[in-house]
């Protein structure tokens, strides 16, 4: 049997983390191909519904990437995202989900290396956890 390969859905902000991911690519930095990236204009524009949808559909992890605190292109979107993620994680934990499948990371446009490291680290952590139990459940 082949090794379990986690599937990660990443919601990245246009101005920082997505550009950071782009830099990782143009700099030919290697990172695992387990991540499916969705570009948003701002982490503050991410409705938690899309994170829960991904988890309920069986994504093993969700990565939310935004600008470092104080650096948001729209002044405060990342601070609002941080509150939403805090709420989401509390809800997930209370309802029997593993909140550590959701990662929030501040990654700037110049941090291509850090983006690659984050994905590598997340893939390793999710391999440790094993597949999302929702993959094989259908009652949702």
């Amino acid at each position: 049997m082949s090794e379990f390969e986690p599937r990660i859905v990443a919601f990245l902000c246009n101005w920082c983390t997505y550009t950071g991911a782009d830099l990782a690519g143009t700099s030919r930095i290697q990172y695992p191909p387990n991540v499916r990236i969705i570009r948003l204009m701002c982490s503050g524009g991410l409705d938690p519904i899309y994170v829960t949808k991904a988890l309920l559909e069986g994504a093993d992890g969700v990565l939310i990437g935004g600008c470092h605190p104080g650096d948001c292109h729209y002044q405060s979107g990342n601070y609002k995202a941080r509150r939403r993620v805090a709420i989401l994680k509390s809800i997930l934990e209370q309802l029997g989900f593993d909140p550590d499948r959701v990662w929030l990371r501040w990654i700037s446009a110049s941090e291509g290396q850090y983006f690659a490291e984050t994905v590598t680290e997340m893939v390793a952590a999710l391999k440790e956890k094993g597949p999302n139990p929702m993959r094989n459940l259908w009652g949702m």
Binding site: N78, I87, Q94
Partner: protein, 376 residues
Amino acid sequence: MPLNAVLEVEDNILATLDTFLRGLLEHGVVEYLLVPQATLAGDNVVQTLVHDMSRLQAVNPVAPVLPVNSAKLVSKLTVKGAPRPVGVVLRTCELRALVELVKLQQASLENVTVIVVDCLGTYEVADYAALVAAGCDPTAELLAQVRDGDLHPHGGYSFRAACQMCEYPVPDVADVHGPDIHLGLLGMDGRVLVTVRDDLAEPLGLTPTAIPEGRKTVVEELIRRRAAERDRRFAEFRSRVNDVEGLLAQFSTCIRCHNCMVACPICYCKECIARTTTFDHEPRQYFEWAERKGVVRMPVDTLMFHLTRLNHMATSCVGCGMCTSACPNDIPVSTIFRAVGEKVQAIFDYVPGRSLEEELPLATFREDELTELGEK
């Protein structure tokens, strides 16, 4: 500063409340009154917006039935500002929901006089109707119990789950935004306590009096019992839902009718994402899911609906329980939302309904909070 007075009860408590509320129109404190009255059939008590005093014929602000959380009705009356002075007679859960709706900019307290009467608990609408049909007077039964505060339902019936664990039978506690007028019944010596905004004492002809002894103890004891029931139900919920299988079992009977959302006073969005076409999928999408997973529950997104509602409104959930009452399949929606909401609200030290000044957790942020999130 609010000012306390007492109303003597000549005939019965209900008649005293009727006279007092009538007085608000008579003395010109308000021109309109949103007040619960028994329907013609007598088996329900609903809010009525009254302008003509002679139409106050079946006033009953303590009837143990709550068909709608009236915060939704006050929103309808005041979303663009009340055009004329209006008094609204509410329960504490309705006042607390109204405070949240004001902060969500769905209601306004301008030109509004909020009147809250001690709540004695409520039955499901169908149970209340059945009790009346059986010749019972559910209001009189409970009014007989207000003095010692040991409120219990009619034999064989129970109060709504939300009421059994409600720590807010009265509004004059620290965690509730103060109403303009409060009519207190619990722990009273057969009279009615009136607490009013000080500028209302004169027009209403009230003489300041000390709060009669005994009320405080009775109210505290009632709140203590309710809080114990709340903790018991929360613990029971948490032991049932400790993994996703447990969660799926909770919502196994959900038919995604959206009744809980429609009944919720906080869920005001005109274009709720659960009702837009955002999650309408192409037919082939369902087949792809079935192919990938082997099986999918239809209709899809049932659990996502509840999780999303939690993410959107758990910070403002006042625990009025209208969602549970609206559920056709008896899912304890309110217990789940209150239990989860309690911990979410605690992150921000937020109590829904407590204050008009405290900002909604989702509408604000602090730079120096939650700093561990986003870092390695």
